[in-house]
Amino acid sequence: MGYHWNWGILLAPEPGGTGTYLHYLIVGLGWTLLTALAAWIIALAVGAVVGTLRTTTNAWVVRLGDFYVEIFRNIPLIVQMFLWFFVFPELLPTKWGDAIKQMNPLANSYMTAVLCLGVFTSVRVAEQVRAGIQSLPRGQRMAATAMGLTQYQAYRYVILPQAFRIILPPLTSEFMNIIKNSSVALTIGLMELTGRARSMQEFSFQTFEAYAAATTIYLVTNVVVVLGMRWIERSVRVPGLIAADAGAH
């Protein structure tokens, strides 16, 4: 069909002079992971707080949490990326906006991507946290109150330690999503794995090899993440729950 195969291209030097194309892609994976991990920290921290607040008894706090979740759930990720990259600096005081625009372009892309992905994913984490808290038997909260714990203490010592362990499996898939979603950052100039696969294709015209290599790298990353998270799930499971029993066999 007229396609010229050349797997050797992976070991050929890339035009930027940093090494082989394979090395070029692996560095891309590094950027993907650095972005995903930094964004994951924001997502977990904000998501845990927002998700918890949405289960409290304060109506205004719940409404504020709902508002946050609805905003960032109903705008496509790429549009959010553009909002943070092009619109957000204009809303800041002029001095700050100019400082952002004069930043090193790579640092600017990276920080924008991390912030955007972190906020985007925090909404999903918040939903999981809320679901986890609501899945606990009501008696847990009542027992905590009966023992004289304040609402804060009930969350800190009774509800959250159980909820977080229950929602680990869905959080794993959110973490895989953040790795995949970081590819959207190529639209604001972050050269992560997918972005580098595309520019490898543009430089070398070996489209199939470039995308196949990137796909393989993503698959391997996924397997590593799944195995790692399974290990964490096993070590923190709640004794006595069905999930724990299933894992024990």
Partner: protein
């Protein structure tokens, strides 16, 4: 924000909606119909006891779900001309525009998500239903078509619709192949007139209103269905 230029939005409204939103909505609807069709077939394959059906289907679904949608879009943009050439026995890759490429990409990609939804839907039907179908003398396709799938669809309608809202948002990623969807149209105006703040804010508001409105409707539908059952 004092120099926020409403006029640029107003001037480009016909272009944004007639070109851009038409592209986005058409793509969403075609990919939904195609995705549910192929997704249901994939689900039936995955649930098959024949290994030569279930293993390829499972591999396809897991492969597409493990790589970023952006990479899937690039893959299909590159592959579709070759697949087309292979089907039509043309010696050179055929020409495929961004729209057709996007429809095929999103159909094949969303099929994997609809597949998992339909699989859960089919598995939620009691086994006795299938047995009574066979006991009545129906074959596999009749049992599926008249008994299992109608119930599975009905149970899964809210989830299928929620997935379609996600699909509607995901179609904005065709930006990476320079298609003129709603976001693409806005980006073209934004870069031409150098009005990025106005155009991207407007895009965000439109997406928000549509997605939020649709999710609200799905939620109400869910309540309705839940009452009947």
């Amino acid at each position: 924000m004092g120099n926020f230029d409403w006029d640029v939005i107003q001037r480009s409204l016909p272009y944004l909606f007639r070109e851009g939103m038409t592209f986005t909505v058409t793509l969403t609807l075609l990919a939904m119909v195609g995705g549910i069709f192929f997704g249901t077939l994939l689900a039936m394959m995955r649930l098959s006891s024949r290994k030569w059906l279930s293993i390829p289907a499972g591999a396809y679904v897991n492969l597409l779900r493990s790589i970023p949608l952006v990479l899937v879009i690039f893959w299909f943009y590159f592959l579709v001309p070759y697949i087309g050439a292979w089907i039509t026995r043309s010696p050179t890759p055929i020409q495929v525009g961004a729209f057709h490429s996007a429809v095929i990409t999103f159909t094949m990609f969303e099929a994997t998500y609809y597949c998992e939804i339909m699989r859960a839907g089919i598995q939620s039907i009691p086994r006795g239903q299938v047995w009574s179908g066979y006991a009545l003398g129906l074959n596999y396709w009749q049992t599926m078509g008249y008994i299992v799938l109608p119930q599975a669809f009905r149970n899964m309608i809210p989830v299928l619709l929620t997935q379609t809202i996600i699909l509607f948002q995901d179609t904005s990623l065709v930006y990476v192949i320079s298609a003129t969807d709603f976001l693409g149209a806005a980006a073209k105006v934004a870069n031409r007139d150098y009005r990025l703040v106005e155009m991207y804010s407007f895009v965000a508001v439109v997406y928000f209103v549509i997605s939020f409105g649709l999710s609200y409707l799905v939620k109400r539908l869910q309540v309705k269905i839940a009452v009947i059952r």
